[in-house]
């Protein structure tokens, strides 16, 4: 009995747990990437004990891959040597860690997955508990297979209605970030549900738990349902969960008589495209209020919005058109799998013909290391999840967050543009 996070934790603990309790739980997978693995290796070496279960460790090279400088190259080298030394089976460099975790089937309903990355919350889209932690804890989990958690209180976000054409999950989530604020979800589990979510395909659902990080949440969750199970069966390789071998690996847990700290009800029907404006994710405005603002770069990428369907929206809008030649329009598919599908179905050609620069998959320009760094005084409109000052390069640049459709419309004009006038 309890909220979704209480249900997931209770199943793992083998007893009923409640918000406020401290629990020590087995984790199914332990994720880290090129930025955070070196420190985890250091903690691991200091502890001086062996890895408990190598198959549960997943390491990605995605944040600065292929290496854009010597420091990044050294990190990669260090990680690859460690993987070799410990004979770890899961070293991946097929795209942004969170997307690859999901599409490779590491994430299943009811699982507990920790990651040395703040957007590990993303896994909540599959009905799994995903949370970001520091590197030391990753090293600890390698050795112990466990992690301590304070069972969080839950904020339920109940979404009803259907969005209008040109309005997407991203617009809804940006709107929620504006309502709850940057620390509105701190320590909390944010549970997204209701009729709107029930009707949403997986690629749109992922946006909500992904950006629950932006409101400080410990995790963002969507209860697994038919959409989740179909996605797992059709889109991911069969991979049994490491733990709970005897249990149904696709166990779809739901809240049962939950006690929520707060319920936020939103009807999405009247919502228009939204933009999170420089410099805070909760500085949210309807697009119409910032329409016409000049941009220097449009970046379509990241774990938030660079899935196949996102690229499809963009390609449909840019087909047989040209983006503004004075604007750098960069498209970074979230994963190689997405890239290949987009290539096969002709989307990449459409994007390139329109004047976009398509890069290899990964985090790309998201953290200002490579693939589209901003100069002082420049402004970017992107499909990313955060707009911290200086995140994409110069601290004197500005980042505006929006949907892929808004990004495509803006790419055509070079000014922040409402996609509703351009959608076909």
């Amino acid at each position: 009995m309890g909220t979704l996070v209480e249900e997931i934790f209770s199943r793992k603990a083998g007893r009923q747990v409640q918000a406020g309790e401290i629990v020590l739980l087995d984790v199914d997978y332990i994720m880290s990437h090129d930025n955070t693995t070196p420190l985890a290796i250091k903690a691991f070496r200091e502890i001086g004990k062996p890895i408990l279960d190598k198959s549960r460790i997943v390491i990605h090279l995605d944040h600065a891959y292929p290496a854009p400088n010597v420091l990044a190259a050294e990190n990669h080298k260090k990680i690859i040597e460690f993987v070799k030394e410990q004979e770890l089976p899961n070293l991946l460099h097929q795209g942004v860690c969170h997307q690859v975790m999901i599409e490779e089937g590491f994430i299943t309903p009811g699982a507990i997955v920790i990651g040395a990355d703040s957007h590990s919350n993303t896994y909540g889209a599959m009905g799994a508990f995903g949370a970001g932690l520091g590197s030391t804890e990753i090293g600890v989990a390698w050795v112990t297979g466990k992690c301590w958690f304070k069972v969080p209180e839950t904020i339920r976000v109940e979404l009803s209605g259907q969005t209008q054409a040109g309005v997407y999950a991203k617009d809804v989530m940006i709107h929620i970030a504006g309502l709850l604020g940057m620390d509105g979800g701190t320590y909390r589990s944010v549970e997204f549900g209701g009729e709107y979510i029930a009707n949403l395909p997986m690629h749109e659902r992922i946006v909500f738990p992904n950006m629950s990080t932006e409101i400080g949440a410990k995790c963002g969750l969507i209860a697994a349902d038919e959409v989740t199970i179909n996605y797992l069966e059709n889109e991911t390789p069969a991979r049994r969960r490491v733990l709970s071998e005897s249990k149904d690996p696709f166990e779809a847990l739901h809240p049962i008589n939950p006690r929520y700290e707060r319920i936020l009800e939103i009807d999405v029907s009247a919502l228009t495209p939204q933009v999170a404006c420089h410099p805070d994710v909760d500085n949210v405005k309807p697009l119409t209020e910032v329409e016409g603002l000049d941009v220097h770069e449009v970046y379509i990428g990241t774990c938030t919005n660079a899935r196949y369907e996102d690229l499809e929206i963009v390609a449909n809008m840019l087909k047989d058109k040209k983006v503004n030649p004075l604007v750098r329009v960069i498209v970074t598919p979230a994963s190689d799998r997405i890239y290949k599908k987009a290539l096969k179905n002709g989307l990449i050609e459409i994007l390139m013909d329109a004047g976009c620069t398509v890069t290899g998959s990964g985090c790309g320009a998201c953290i200002g290391r490579h693939g589209g760094i901003l100069a002082p005084g420049e402004r970017a409109l992107t499909t990313m999840n955060r707009n911290f000052i200086g995140r994409m390069g110069s601290p004197l640049s500005e980042i505006y967050l929006a949907s892929p459709a808004t990004a495509a419309a803006t790419a055509l004009t070079g000014k922040i543009t409402d996609p509703r006038g351009i959608l076909v």
Partner: protein
Amino acid sequence: MGKAWTFGENMNTDEIIPGRYNITIDPVELAKNVFCEVKPEYAKTVKPGDVIVGGQNFGCGSSREHAPIAIKGSQAKCIIAPSFARIFFRNAINIGLPILECPEAVADITEGDDVDVNLSTGEIFNRANGHRYQARALPDFVLKIAEAGGIVNFLKTHDIQDLLN
């Protein structure tokens, strides 16, 4: 007994220790530059046992562990704040830096006050004005980690299960 050092709201990890100093993870080295932009005198004159009194959402920003490591390296006894950012909260506990949530104390303590903190009971005593405040007692497992000097040290001699036993 220790001197109180007060800080504002939403103190982020970059204000605690700017990114350019994060090339090391040595606590003593990091401590030399802790709060260097917001309160340069801190690193120069802090004494073991001094207490950090922060504002709402202390430690927000990146998940890097350098920030709590730098504060611990400065030998501050603990941090008192009305609330902490989530990953900072965990990182602080795991590296053995005690943190106490107590809005009443934060509202009433001013910089330089002589403050006594009993970590196991959560009692905070401000000698400067004689006021007492009660933070929630730290859970036993947090004290165990703090006593060991962090979770890494704890695991050298214990099983993780011992945390909750």
